[in-house]
Symmetry: C2
Subunit: 113 residues, 2 copies
DNA sequence: TCGATATTTCCAGAATTATGGAAATATCGC
DNA sequence: GCGATATTTCCATAATTCTGGAAATATCGA
């Protein structure tokens, strides 16, 4: 992932509604959610949600698929992995101060930092 | 790391100047950089850089230490690790679609996604 | 104390982003 | 085709963030 893509991805996630929406989609799993279902969960007006979804779409963080009148949205895990990779490189490049092995240990996840 | 902190961290990194600044600091390693040195590298006016540094500071992404008239700024790797952990949890929770082992393999870093 | 250097705060204008109602588009079942 | 449902686009307003000059603050060496 290049810097511009990482930037767009970070900016897309750096908004409360969009981060919450993405988390809902991740929790929903591979099936994803209908836009209407997501709208109900977030309690946002349609136009507002669409605007945020468009930002997430532009950042390639979600994939949608039309199923008749319903548009089903899913989290794009590949892009999230790409972002994590990018940040890991950024975090670890140069000084070797936080090697991937230490930042990715399963046992370390969930700790209070 | 809680959701609010992750949000502030993502928003802080979701700006070109701040992401570039953070990358410079990571590359600079444990010694960090003087604000003036960072300012020269970024080519930004002092007030502008200070505003961005304040955002990074509020997000706990940088640590600074005064050395006489110079303020030395360093990347806070712990916070970056915390963010990566948060995203990894978000990415992997629910569906098990992208386990940390796959997103953090050293061999996978650097791939084009 | 003074003058020089480093950085910040103050502040206001510029630019961008967010919000949501109303109208438009797409698809369905009949 | 028509009415109903799902979602988007359009658009204007509101809110936020960005930017950078000028003044203020902090520290130094003499």
């Amino acid at each position: 992932m290049d810097a511009d893509t990482a930037l767009a991805t970070l900016a897309a996630l750096g908004h409360e509604t969009r981060l919450t929406a993405f988390r809902e989609l991740v929790q929903a799993g591979t099936e994803g959610l209908a836009v209407g279902e997501l709208r109900e969960r977030l309690g946002a007006p349609g136009a507002t949600l669409t605007a945020h979804l468009n930002t997430l779409r532009a950042a390639d963080l979600v994939i949608d698929q039309r199923e008749g009148r319903v548009i089903r949205v899913r989290a794009n895990y590949a892009q999230m992995n790409g972002l994590i990779d990018y940040l890991t490189e950024n975090c670890c490049a140069g000084g070797g101060n936080c090697a991937p092995v230490s930042s990715c240990k399963p046992s370390k996840r969930g700790k209070k930092t």
